[in-house]
Amino acid sequence: MHDPIQHVLGRIERGELRMRSKISILVATAALAAASATVFVLAIYLVSFGIFSLRTSGALLLPSFGLRGVRMFFAAFPWAPAGGALVLMIILVRLARLLPFVYRRPIGYAALGALALSGAIGLALDQTALHGAINDRTTTGGLRVLDVFYAKPDGMQSAGTYVGIVTTASSDAFLLQTDAGEVVVQLTPETRYPQGRTIGNGDRVLVIGDRQDGIVTAYGIRVIAAESK
């Protein structure tokens, strides 16, 4: 009769079964830790890039224009990095669930923890010069591979949103220098201005409005913080 114990012992004695060495286990553990760290760093990079993108494009100001602004905010939202960060966080949570203190608790805790941690570090990273420096290098040709992330003026304009520097201002119009070229912005009595603020030369502003024959009729204007971009 087949004895499973003798069968396994026989395989060990004949050398058919060998214990994996501690070194190979150590290498596999180190590789897993390195992979987890890479996923974490990438997730943080994407989160901070998303925050940077929202801040410098002025998209965070769009909801203040009402329903139209909210619609434009969703159109301008950096969905690709946000989706990428979400996928990376799912991978990270699955990797973290190999650890007893993680899998003994609900997945929701691990997911919220990963979200809070990457959000906090992402916000902190956004305060540094990292993304500004990468953005400068993409525009000067040093990091062409990242062009697709950092330079998207056309995408913003197609959504009816214009970000740029005011070059020449008058009482009913101004010229706006955007990344995609110069735009004439026409002001009307219905244009929503920032309260207690006039638009002057050198201001970095966000304009939403309809473009016809090269002239944008402004529906609303917001001044973007001077330190942005």
Binding site: P4, V8, R20, R97, P106, G108
Partner: protein
Amino acid sequence: MPAGEHATVTDESLVACVRSGDTVAYGSLMERYMARMQRYIRKFLFGHEDAEDIAQEVFTKAYVHLNQFDASRSFSTWLYRIAHNECINAIKRKQREPIPFFDPDTLFPHPVARETPRDHVERVELRMLVETSLEQLAPKYREPVVLYYFEERSYREIADIMRIPVATVGVRLARARTLLAAAHVRDAAGHP
């Protein structure tokens, strides 16, 4: 260590002997756990697979990966974890029952799920009752029932074996009891 002395030493000490090249010590570990593993596999897979073959595979994998075992933790829980993986693989291979990729039960905390002294009495009484109805449970409910009622593992050990939150073990056992009670009522109505 002489083979006769193996009976009195702990699993973890035997593992240390095996790691230093004592093959007989591994034989002693298998003697201790082979019958338990076969029983667990037989009940979890409900006789649809050869429990002996799978148990043999469990001990083969345990030997190969023995250096991965953390001696500060329980060897039996580690071994059950390997058996759990083998059973899940067997179910997936045969595609007999669906194994969900994600279970919402593990997502949020649950208010129930602590072991009580009453559980032990209930464990003995229910063991007889559930044996005949196990097949009516989905694998995610069947496994904690087998581990709790037949293998007498604690909630925490079951959580470690299945890698699910401790509270989820309690939730699944409570749901399994409800499902088994309903099945029992159905059976009783069908067979007066």
